[in-house]
Symmetry: C2
Subunit: 420 residues, 2 copies
């Protein structure tokens, strides 16, 4: 392939990158191929320590902030100005794969190593970032570190979140030794770039290896609450039961059916449920569900949400309980920055790498950072779109092009004009 402009002489070393991924895959592994490396766990500490040692070997200055986000800086020629930040997260789901998030951090490390090899020095610093607890699998709050960094989530509030054993984020952070000195909210970077596996099969089913993410699916996290009344699950006449679990079950089915009626672009799952008392022989009196729904068109999404609200009321009424929906969070509305997206396009074109525009459908730290800095993402293919499962996999050869694009875009943005 020929390049329309003169390419920067950066060579991504696939073998070196795979070695870091293989080392990561040993820490918190679910044999044969998965990972369960929950945020702020002993295995998270082990991975962070390894990552920090790699950063130091690469000559980077490592800084940690109050919520445990790690920043590893490659100095710029222009002194200590706002950096180009590239990274993702090293924590996983309880039943996750070895690439989700991790690839973004280790690709950033490979970019910096490649810049070192090529002796390329950017005007602005390049910071590799590892955000604390993107998955929310342990403390039930996704994008924790990046949201504290932007100020969207208060540090004090974040530190008080608890896991299933009642351990707070604050205690867990202290336990693993990652309470840093850097203050939060942190200083907005010049720009933020994040590489991630796509988590769907659009790229995998195409012959294009690089997805330049210019938009995302607006997503609601809905909290749905049902309130009934405990009673004996044996003798109590059915007509006198106020069974919150049955109401919730009707709603879960309705949410699934409503979503499917809106075609393949509409997606939803009720991924968590909390029932009380949840014991033998007692009718449930309260149920809390968490459900996420997304659709690329926010008008359609709002329509789906209204249908779900009506369905929850109907489900509750059918079970003689009360039910209501509270939108607990919404993300995916913050558009990515057209100039950073253009830099990615240009990087792909310069390197002669075919790319396509694509929309993000999952939550990412990039969504949080997009609120405070010009941001965009790069996706690479993952096999069959599988993620949040140990079978998550990639074709290594199809990952390298996106890292080559990331490296070139990072340099271009680090050397480019103010985006402010």
């Amino acid at each position: 392939m020929t390049s329309p402009e003169t390419d920067i002489p950066i060579a991504i070393d696939g073998d070196r990158l795979w070695a870091t991924l293989e080392a990561s895959a040993q820490i918190g592994s679910i044999p044969p191929s998965g990972l369960a490396r929950l945020a702020l766990s002993a295995s998270d500490r082990q991975m962070r320590d390894l990552f920090v040692s790699w950063c130091r070997e690469a000559g980077l200055a490592v800084r940690v902030d109050r919520i445990g986000n790690i920043f590893a800086r490659r100095a710029g020629r222009g002194g200590d100005v706002a950096p180009v930040m590239i990274g993702s997260h090293l924590d996983t789901q309880v039943h996750g794969g070895r690439f989700d998030g991790i690839l973004g951090v280790l690709a950033a490390l490979e970019v910096v190593r490649a810049l070192n090899d090529a002796d390329v020095h950017t005007s602005r610093p390049v910071d590799i970032v590892c955000w604390t607890d993107e998955e929310g699998a342990r403390f039930r709050r996704s994008m924790l570190g990046s949201s504290v960094f932007t100020g969207e989530l208060e540090l004090t509030q974040a530190l008080l979140l608890t896991d299933d054993d009642g351990v707070t984020v604050g205690d867990a952070l202290t336990e693993i030794g990652y309470v840093g000195e850097a203050g939060v909210p942190g200083p907005p970077p010049h720009a933020y770039l994040e590489l991630h596996i796509e988590q769907n099969s659009i790229l995998d089913e195409s012959d294009v290896d690089v997805g330049i993410v210019d938009s995302s699916y607006p997503t609601y996290i809905l909290a749905v609450h049902f309130e009934g009344r405990t009673a004996h699950a044996g003798p109590t006449p059915m007509a006198k039961r106020h069974d919150a679990l049955t109401g919730a079950a009707r709603a879960i089915v309705a949410i699934d059916e409503i979503t499917r009626r809106h075609g393949p672009e509409a997606k939803s799952s009720t991924s968590s449920i909390r029932v009380w008392p949840n014991r033998p022989a007692i009718v449930s009196s309260s149920v809390d569900l968490r459900c996420n729904i997304c659709h690329p068109d926010d008008h359609v999404l709002d329509g789906i949400k209204r249908e779900i609200e009506r369905a929850v009321e109907a489900a509750a009424a059918a079970s003689n309980v009360t039910g209501h929906v509270v939108p607990a969070a919404r993300f995916g509305d913050a558009g990515f920055d057209s100039r950073v997206v253009a830099a990615l396009d240009a990087a792909a074109a310069t390197a002669g790498i075919p790319s396509m525009r694509i929309a993000a459908q999952a939550g990412h730290d990039a969504f949080a950072i997009a609120r405070i800095a010009p941001t965009a993402m790069v996706f690479c293919p993952c096999r069959d779109g599988i993620s949040h499962h140990p079978d998550e996999d990639v074709d290594y050869a199809r990952v390298l092009p996106s890292i080559a694009v990331l490296a070139r875009a990072a340099v271009a943005v680090a050397d480019g004009p103010e985006l402010g």
Copy 2:
């Protein structure tokens, strides 16, 4: 009212009984009227200690067995032969009332106090029994102590059951100081009698205060398992999801609808659910439900069960997961002993107290003991049939007649012929 036979001069002292109930209601209370006194908890220990002190004051010899069942013996004239055993349990649900089980133990204590007052001495001993953990609210195994006593449940197996915090029955029993010397399985009593609130509103809505329990509703506890596959709850196409929670929800709704189609005598509730991973942004891969179904006619019950099995398969198929039903337990088949029932009938007639025959619809320790000894139960009314809820209540005046019947039947059986 006149008595057809000469009545025994036993006087139940309502005020004395209510005082014990009021004292019990202070231990583990949910204000204003409920109780959360889980088995082998600190409040269970406090209640047991109080109960034991009352038994000792009444001159009874207290014995505890290896699973913590408490036996308080009023000696018989005929020496240490098999006793008439009367009692129930002192533990409650997490959101329970002050009468379920407790009334049966304290009524037994009142019977013994009344026998003491009247200087009535029976041929066989009368044992008051407090069974360990009838509710199963903490360790998820109902009728724990009585099932170990009969040998249906192995002691070693029972001691290894854990609560939500991983505490074993064995450790909890040691912690509260109720690991006794008496061996299990224990010696079958001559006969077993248990008084309980009805937990339905048949007596409450009638003008009869005493229900003589001659039968019970056959009941299945069904374990229902669904197996899907984790995936990202965002981008994964709906057609590629294998969402175990949606499958379970379809089944919960179907179980409710099937039960209602079988008329008011059919009852069911899915009272517990366990979901994995049950976290944000990840599709559920496995769900376990516990559901109980009962119907007085065991052919109808088996038909309902078959319908549920088919519905579970259909629900699983509709959600692209697998699902199957395993009957985890069945109870309510052991008929009560006609001679003990006749003794209760005769006691009511002798005392001139109107009674009616009634069927038990909930699980009781009496079901366990019926496997090894002649057994029957007496029910008293509870307001609106409410139980397993803090609003559980009784009209004290309507409780006394059942205790008068219990006392007279206990004496008659203790002085009666061998039932072997």
